[in-house]
Amino acid sequence: MDYSADEMMTVAAARALRNSDICFVGIGMPSAACNLARLTHAPDITLIYESGTIATKPDVLPLSIGDGELCDTALTTVSVPEMFRYWLQGGRFTIGFLGGAQIDRFANLNTTVVGPYQKPKTRLPGGGGAPEISSACGEIFIIMRQAPRSFVAKLDFVTSFGHGEGGDHRARMGIATKGPTKLITDLAVFEPDPGSKEMTVTAIHPGVTRERIAANTGWPVRYATQVDETPAPTAEELSVLRGLHARTARAHGDAA
């Protein structure tokens, strides 16, 4: 069955989630991956959005973090201050699932500016919940398309802290959580090297070459001693994902 690189990425990201996870869900690609997991192998996964919707089970993907669908299908909905105080800072999430605009080899993220902060070349949306999600959740999964301008040697701005300068930098910052443990792209899956914490390729998607990964990464890519090939999306994974996107398009009036 034919599939796109984005579909491979979303499927690989969904597979990383466990049925028992309590997941702080970022909008966009993370939301698609989390709901695909819920609709396939992880029916009991707890999905929480920063709008305060707890254990939500949306039938269509939200365009915004606070769509009514999230509240209508939630166990309950709390205020935004409570979400950030009792739930995120309270340390109740096993996973924080983020996207980003720029990433470096230690999985630090920039969603703030391209160029200098005071006079940016491009002003990006900013951090939103990411700075505290990155330090408060048990581990962080990141989903991003690879490209030279997004996978960069040096970030213009550190919006959220991954492994910093690598090694024990998180521990030295007094952060007890694991930080980014998986980076899922349209080409491969990266995991931090146990020692250096540099994000290292542990699986390559079918048909993707190391040359292509190199061409789309702004630093010399490291590979794990054993690199697997990501299993292609199953027919079920694809049909569930496409159904989700189709329902979503209809609901957002794109069809109209």
Partner: protein, 286 residues
């Protein structure tokens, strides 16, 4: 004690040039009708506070109402940039715009602290990131019990909070349900407030003992504006107009297109226009 007023009078009574104004609503219940009235009244030099500026602030900024924006995520959710914000911030059109940038956690805690009458909020945040280097309003306090260094930001205490709620009762109490965001905190933290509502009911009737209600004496002016959150949504009344959010991208990209759209859809309209939108959405949903 809250007062029931027509929208124009409600906004006029509360919002003055140079005020610090928080128009809140987290995707849900964004007070567009009140924001449009502020534009029609040509308020100037406002400091606008909002976690997610959204289209409402893109419109206010593009019409030259604001000198400064305090925010934690500035974009058109799921669509892209806010072009009027970027044009003002990057090119100073129609006027230069200063920014004060935080994280969601910081702003949510700052609203909570404002509602609680505290001068600051403390939280575990901004660890290892660059924002504290560019925002002097991010400081730290040390816990006298554990020695832990925690982030501190000033409480948000706006001159005016503007929200859209579901219902008011005849006594002037206000009910919010669904995604409640930081609206209650914004009103409790502010000196004055303007609340638009979908409807005014005799009383709220049977409800949860713990319903989210702002008592009359905590609210300033109340204006009944059905559909007043459009293109945002009102839980149980009408859905979010996602097509509008997507269409906005093209409208806002170009200065003239934007000005023409604002003239036709805001300057030459009144609050009653919102009822039309919401009825259309309700009809479409059936």
């Amino acid at each position: 004690m809250s007062r029931f007023l027509p929208l124009a009078e409600a906004v006029e009574s509360a919002i003055r040039d140079g005020d610090t104004v928080a128009m809140e609503g987290f995707t849900h219940l964004i007070p567009f009708a009140a924001g449009h009235e502020v534009i029609r009244q040509r308020r100037r030099h406002l400091t606008l506070i909002r976690m997610t500026p959204d289209l409402i602030y893109d419109q206010l900024i593009g019409m030259g109402c604001a000198d400064k924006l305090v925010f934690s995520w500035v974009g058109n959710p799921g669509v892209g940039s806010l072009h009027r914000f970027r044009d003002a911030y990057e090119h100073g059109w129609p006027a230069p715009l200063a920014i004060e940038e935080h994280s969601h956690a910081a702003m949510a805690n700052a609203y909570e602290a404002g509602a609680a009458g505290l001068p600051l909020a403390i939280f575990r945040g901004y660890l290892g990131v660059d924002l504290p280097k560019v925002n002097p309003n991010i400081k730290h306090v040390t816990c006298p019990f554990t020695g832990e260094r925690l982030a501190a930001v000033p409480a948000i205490r706006p001159d005016v909070a503007v929200i859209h709620a579901l219902k008011a009762d005849r006594a002037g109490n206000v009910l919010i349900e669904g995604i409640v965001g930081v609206q209650k905190e914004a009103v409790l933290a502010a000196r004055r407030s303007v609340v638009t509502v979908e409807e005014i009911v005799e009383d709220f009737g049977s409800r949860s003992a713990n319903a989210v209600i702002l008592p009359s004496w905590t609210v300033g002016a109340i204006a009944c504006v059905p559909g007043g959150a459009h293109p945002s949504y009102a839980h149980g009344y009408y859905k979010r107009d996602n097509a509008y959010y997507k269409a906005w991208d093209a409208i806002a990209r170009d200065r003239d297109t934007f000005l023409a759209w604002m003239k036709a859809n805001v300057l030459e309209q009144g609050p009653e226009a919102f009822a039309v939108h919401s009825m259309r959405l309700r009809a479409a949903a059936e």
